[in-house]
Structure formats: C-alpha cells, structure tokens
C-alpha cells in the first residue's frame, strides 16, 4: 500500500475512534444539533487549515494566521460601523487585506530570506498590534460594539441546519484538493516543498510558488474572519488568539510534514474535524480547558513521532 494511503487511513482511524468513544459514552454527542455545532466549530479552524496546508506543503509555516484573521475581522467591523459600503464590497476589501498580509509574509521569506518561522512570528505581532490600534473604542476604552448589519450577519445563518460556514469549508477543502492534485501549480508546490533545489533545476520558479502559498493562507484567514465575526456579531482584538495552535495540530494530524512536500487538503479536513470533535467531547465531559490544550499538545507530538518512525521504517524496508 502506498505511504499516502496508509497515512490517510491512520488519520481517518483516529477520527472514527474518537467518534466511537464519544458516541458510546455520551448520550448527547450524536444528537443532530450537537453534530451541526461541531461541524460549525470545525469549519473555522478547517478553512484556515486548508490555507496552512499549502504553506506546509511548500515547507513553510504560517504562525500569523490568528493575527491576520483578527486584523481582517476588525477592519471589516470598522467598515460596517462607519461606512455604508454594501457587504460584498466590504468582503472584497477584507479579502484583499488578508491576501496582501499573506503576500507580505511570502516576500519577507523569499526575497529577504527570513526564516518562515521568524517572519510569520514577527508579522503575527504586527497584525495583532494593528488590530488593537483599529479596535472600536468608547471613551478611550475598547468596547464590543454589536454589529447590526443584517446582510453581514446572514453569514452566520444556516440552510436546513447546515451552517453556511460549513458549506464554505467544504467548498474550500474541495477546491484546495483539486488545485493541489490536479493542477500544475499544485504539483510544483509539492516539488518545491519536498526538494527545492531539484525543483529549481527543473525550471520551476520556487519563490513565486512559496509567495503564492502564503497568499492562499491569507485568503483563507480572511474568509474565516468573516464567518467568525458574523457568528460573534462583534469584533474583539483577542479574536483568533492561539488559532495557529489548533490549525497546525489539524494539518499535522491530516498528514502534513514540517519538512514539506506531504499532506493535502482532504487530510487537513479530517484533522480539523478531529480537533473539533476532541474539543466538543472534552466539553461534554466537563474537562477544564487546560486538559484540552494539553491533550492537543500530546496529539501533535504523537503524530510527528508516528510520521518520523513510519517513514524511517518505510525507508528501511526499501533498502
């Protein structure tokens, strides 16, 4: 069996194992409303995770996703409060800002040769600070002013119980999968991530591809920002704080490797579902959030160890 197939089965098995455990131990877990809420929770992380997938495949990492999401959220809220722009215009502007933020990361990394980790850690700080600067204030204090634009709030709605954000997530994941697996762009992204020098010797423009990957990550952050803001009906500076943790956990469970060239959008979808199920289940058992975060940390470590050991075994077999 191919390595990728085995890896897919492992992440699916993890998800089903968790679903079975929770389904049999908690009576309310398998109820339709709970599952729909779970999907909604998974969708925000999932949309950002699809963008992160592109970055990890290109052997990068984007620590700025939470901050970029917050910045786009705050900016859109500001526009909703203080302008009469129609919602599509606001969404467009927010998207442009998100993509631009990603491209800035990409340029810092490829043109100025900053390590991915440093560049996006620094831009995380910068975008978080910008969010604070643009925060809505009354009498100098930050206030959570409610958004009352009906058109915008409609984003938080659902159709037949299925939230729009979940539909958006599915669309993003499928589109991401098609781009990665069926286009030249996707194929070249895998090549650049797995072995940049070889890819360049084959005439591939690696810098362009890496910048584009960060741009896609920024796009996904903006998209997630709209849905999250609509759901919360306000924008707060702390929105999306620590999001990168869940997102990175999701893509690692889904099969991405920090060394690049591995994983796909479908895997990250599974990973996002896993993370949301874990969170949801732990709530059901009234576990404190410290246990949640710790468990997620263990999950990341175990998956990375599993991948390392498994790949080592595969390589040994072949010799």
């Amino acid at each position: 069996m191919r390595q990728e197939t085995v890896r897919r089965l492992v992440s699916l098995a993890l998800l089903f194992l968790l679903l079975i455990i929770l389904g049999t131990t908690s009576s309310s877990f398998l109820s339709l409303p709970n599952l729909l809420t779970l999907l909604r929770e998974a969708s925000i992380v999932g949309i950002v995770a699809v963008g992160m997938t592109f970055v990890l495949i290109a052997a990068g990492i984007d620590l700025s996703v939470g901050a970029v999401l917050a910045f786009v959220s705050m900016l859109s809220a500001n526009l909703l409060y203080s302008t009469t722009f129609p919602v599509p215009v606001i969404l467009f502007l927010g998207t442009v800002v998100g993509v631009a933020a990603g491209l800035v990361n990409g340029v810092l990394i490829t043109r100025l040769h900053l390590p991915d980790f440093i560049a996006t850690l620094a831009s995380q700080g910068i975008f978080r600070a910008l969010t604070l600067i643009f925060a809505i204030r009354t009498n100098g204090l930050i206030s959570n002013k409610v958004i009352n634009n009906e058109d915008f709030l409609a984003l938080a709605g659902n159709t037949g119980g299925l939230y729009f954000v979940t539909l958006a997530f599915l669309l993003v994941a499928v589109t991401g999968q098609v781009i990665l697996k069926r286009t030249k762009f996707g194929l070249h992204l895998y090549a650049v991530g797995a072995h940049r020098k070889s890819a360049e010797l084959s005439g591939i423009n690696s810098n362009f591809l890496r910048i584009a990957a960060y741009g896609i990550s920024g796009f996904c952050c903006a998209l997630a920002a709209f849905f999250l803001t609509a759901k919360m009906e306000t924008a707060i500076p702390d929105i999306g704080l620590g999001l990168e943790f869940d997102v990175i956990a999701a893509v690692v469970i889904g099969g991405c490797a920090f060394t690049g060239g591995r994983g796909d959008a479908l895997g990250s979808l599974i990973g996002a579902l896993f993370m949301a199920t874990l969170t949801n289940g732990l709530y059901k058992f009234n576990m404190p959030s410290s246990v949640q975060v710790m468990l997620k940390g263990f999950v990341i470590i175990s998956m990375v160890i599993f991948d390392a050991v498994y790949r080592h075994e595969v390589r040994r077999e072949k010799r």
Partner: protein, 503 residues
C-alpha cells in the same frame, strides 16, 4: 561536411581560477552515438570541463561546436536547450513525487493550468517503450533504489530530447548488480544514437563500455584512445604520467613493533563486510579505495560514530566498547572528511574549537568552563601546530583550509591519543601546509600513536604510509606491506584489476 558524425567538438578550452590554470588548451570530441569516457585523477580538471559543457561555468577561451555550429554555452538553460543533459553524482529528483511526475517536472502538459494526465501518461509510456527502460511510473521516487533513481534521471534528460548525456561517476554508489542495469541502459541509449560522456575512476568499466577515451592530467589532454587502444595498462600510464618520478614509488618495510590495534571481522550491513587487520605501535596505515568503497564508513565505525553489525575492535589486547564515548576514552580521535561540516564549528573561535573535545580532561572545570584551561590548551596547541594567525579568539571560519585542518588535529592532540583516524586530510590544502600535516602525522607515529589515513591522493598514501590497505566494494581487497610500491600498483588494486600483494 566531413565532421558529420561529430556531435560536440571543443577546442582550445581554457579556464583559470584566481590565476591558477585548471584547464589548458583542452580538446574534446564526442561523436554521435558513442560512449566517450573521460578519465583523470582527482584534480585533473574533469569536473571543471563538465561544468563548462553544461553551462554552469563559462570558459575563458576556446571554441565549442555543437553539431558543427559554434555555441556560447553561457547558461545551464542554453545547454538544456541544445540537448546536453547531465546526471550529477548527487541526484536532483523530488523524493516524494512519483517517477512520472519527476520525469516531466517543469514540462507538464496542461490546459488552463490543469494537468492533462492521460496525455502525459501516454508521453511517458512512449518514452519508456522507445528506450526499453522498465521503471514503475507510479512509484514514489523515495521508494526506489539508487540505480532506479538514476534511470529516472536518464529518462528525465531524454524527455527533454537530450542527444548528449553527461554522467559523472554514476556507479560510485551502486552495487555491482545495479551497475549492470545502468550499463544495459547505456547500451540501449547508444543504439538509439544518444551520445554519452562518461566520467569514471573505474578502469574496468571504461575498458568494457567506452568507444573512445580522453585522459586529462593536470588540466591537459594527455591522450585520446580509440576502442582498440583502450587497455588498463595504457590508461594507467596516461593518468599518472612519466615526468615526475619523485613520490611515485616507495619502498615499504614491515614494522617489527608490537601489535596494538586488532580489528576482527568488522562489518556494517550494506556498507562493508568482514574487515580484519592489525596496526602496530607507531604505524601509519594508509587506506585507499574508490569513493563508495567504504573507507569513510570504516573510519566512522572504528570511531564509534556508526555502530558495526559484526566484529570486534581490540586495543592492546582489550576488546573495546562500541560507542563513541568508549572509543574516545580508549584514546581514539577522528579527523573527518568534511572539515567545515563535521570537524569544526565554523562560527566558534579557535580556542573554543580546540577545547570542544577536551572538556572531560582534569582542570577543565566540572560545571562551569574554566577559561584559563581553554586558553592554556589553545596557546599550547597553536604553538605546537603553528596555527596562523595565532589569534585565539578568531572564528575558525576565517582561517585558511590548512590552518583549519591543524585546529581539527589539535582537538585531539591535547589528549592521551592512542589511535588517530584521518579522512582525506589534505583536500583543498596548499602544498606547504600539506607537508606540515604529513610531518605532524609522522611525529605522532614516532611517539607511538597509531594512524589510519584514508586518502584518494595516491602520492600522499605513498609518501606517508608504512603499510597500505586497499578497500574495494566494502571489502579488504589488497594489502601492500613490503617492497617497492608504485602509484601504478595502487591504482591497479583500487580498480580491482589485480590484488597486488597477497593478503
């Protein structure tokens, strides 16, 4: 035109690096559909010539005709476009992609950005069947053997319509069986009219495969042999030359001092097997062999950097533990091949580098480092090794290659050293410092230290060693212990033509 079957014709090619002429008036002709071998010792100028032909370097002077037309060959792209493909020693494939994806990487068939998989499949199938090279298209490259990966590289070059394939020591890391696969592929290519410029150190391969042979020595073409003229003796004569007699031979006399190091049946799976030898006190034992013959791996194993699967190592009658810690404690030291990458920490000072191996010595300080200890050590080492400039706080990356190598040696000399393992100690080091390093090794030996010297430089082996072992394909193939030994004898043994002195 009379030169109709000439594919490539280079004449009067010159190249200098910082005033040193590495290629002098070089002529090279490759005919259509021939396997043309390029031989020469290390530093003869082979790689420079290849780099010029692939557009990586530009020549200082000379003309290159491609199919009778003069070409500039200024960039790698231009070489590609003309149809010159190169298969580097270090392969340039993407391990996680499939064979098919790798072959067509960068030249995929697309419509609106989408891959046209069926069309590409057909293209690949055509390519494979037209050359008769069987390879599983849907396997990930990382699951293939090195030989299969080379086939992928070849197919990749052919998919770009290469009419000249340059292969730089393609068999260096192949097993005998894998090499056969490659040779069959080369025959097929030849029959299809593809020319191959084949760089190899292995006489028997060239003897078997080459239609013609060009031999380089010290940047000059010293001979072009046709099929009938290619004989091992003739190749060796050309490669070594006749002019310089000094350092070409040496009379070995067996040492009578007591045996100290005894290596018994040492083996490491897939790397080397069944290596047994002894070293007497104060002996310098040279270890020769081709790249990939297991020399470096043997040294690493003796040092404990890699673990042996079989065999034992005894020093003064005692069996040693197999870990690096045990070996260092027993008095082993290693001067690795990759000086900058493994021998030194380039950013740290001379003083720090010298102290790195010695923090377990008495006086070094148990928890906090004693800078007076480091400073003393450093002053003594720099004096005795004559490191220049004598500036303890200078980062070693700013030193010349020779002085860096002295620092690597110095790391071990402050200790109670019993066995020094040295891997290619003088690569990239100028002549004067080379002599100093030989002197150092000889002084150490006189003091009773056992030295194992791995080298590809034949004059060096002859100059320094008391005894010479030759490794071949991971096995001890020959040993020279007494009588007059010439470079020619060594080269024959290294190439596996004859085993020289009986083992």
């Amino acid at each position: 035109m009379k030169n109709d079957n000439l594919l490539l014709q280079a004449s009067g090619v010159e190249k200098s690096f910082s005033g040193v002429r590495v290629l002098k008036n070089v002529h090279l002709e490759v005919r259509r559909g021939e396997i043309h071998a390029l031989m020469g010792e290390n530093g003869a100028g082979k790689s420079t010539l290849i780099k010029i032909l692939t557009g990586v370097l530009t020549r200082d002077a000379g003309k290159v005709l491609w199919c009778g037309q003069e070409v500039a060959l200024a960039t790698r792209k231009e070489a590609h476009r003309l149809g010159i493909g190169c298969i580097y020693q270090e392969l340039s494939l993407v391990p996680t992609l499939t064979v098919g994806q790798n072959i067509l990487l960068g030249q995929e068939t697309t419509r609106g950005g989408f891959l046209q998989t069926p069309l590409m499949k057909k293209k690949l199938q055509d390519l494979i069947s037209s050359f008769g090279l069987a390879i599983p298209l849907d396997s990930a490259v990382e699951t293939l053997s090195i030989a299969q990966r080379q086939l992928v590289e070849i197919l990749k070059a052919l998919s770009r319509d290469s009419s000249l394939l340059i292969m730089d020591e393609p068999t260096a890391s192949l097993s005998a069986h894998e090499a056969e696969t490659l040779f069959r592929a080369m025959q097929i290519l030849k029959e299809r009219g593809v020319s191959i410029l084949y760089i190899s150190h292995r006489l028997e391969e060239v003897n078997r495969l080459a239609d013609r042979l060009t031999v380089l020595r010290d940047g000059e073409v010293v001979g072009v042999l046709s099929r009938e003229q290619i004989r091992p003796g003739e190749m060796i004569r050309l490669m070594i030359g006749r002019e310089i007699e000094a350092g070409k031979q040496r009379a070995l006399t067996p040492s009578t001092r007591p045996e100290a190091l005894r290596v018994c049946g040492l083996g490491r799976h897939g790397v080397f097997a069944d290596i047994s030898f002894t070293v007497r006190e104060g002996e310098i034992v040279g270890v020769g062999g081709l790249v990939g013959s297991g020399r470096t791996e043997l040294l690493r194993c003796l040092f404990g950097a890699d673990l042996a699967d079989t065999g034992t190592v005894q020093l003064a009658g005692k069996v040693l533990g197999s870990t690096m810690k045990a070996r260092i404690k027993a008095g082993f030291g290693l001067v690795p091949e990759d000086r900058r990458g493994q021998g030194l920490v380039p950013l740290l000072s001379i003083q720090r580098n010298l102290a790195l191996t010695n923090h377990d010595l008495p006086g070094a300080g148990k928890i906090f480092l004693r800078s007076s200890f480091e400073a003393d050590l450093c002053v003594r080492s720099m004096e005795s090794l004559d490191v220049r400039p004598r500036f303890a706080q200078m980062p070693v990356e700013n030193l010349s290659g020779g002085n860096q190598q002295k620092v690597v040696l110095g790391k071990w000399l402050a200790r109670d050293l019993r066995v020094l393992l040295v891997d290619e100690p003088t690569v990239g080091i100028d002549v004067g410092v080379k002599e100093e390093i030989y002197g150092l090794l000889q002084d150490l030996a006189e003091k009773g230290v056992l030295v194992l010297l791995v080298s590809s430089d034949l004059p060096e082996l002859l100059r320094v060693s008391h005894r010479i072992l030759i490794l071949r394909q991971g096995r001890l193939f020959a040993e020279f212990r007494r009588g007059v030994v010439t470079q020619e004898d060594l080269l024959r043994a290294i190439s596996g033509i004859e085993s020289g002195a009986a083992l």
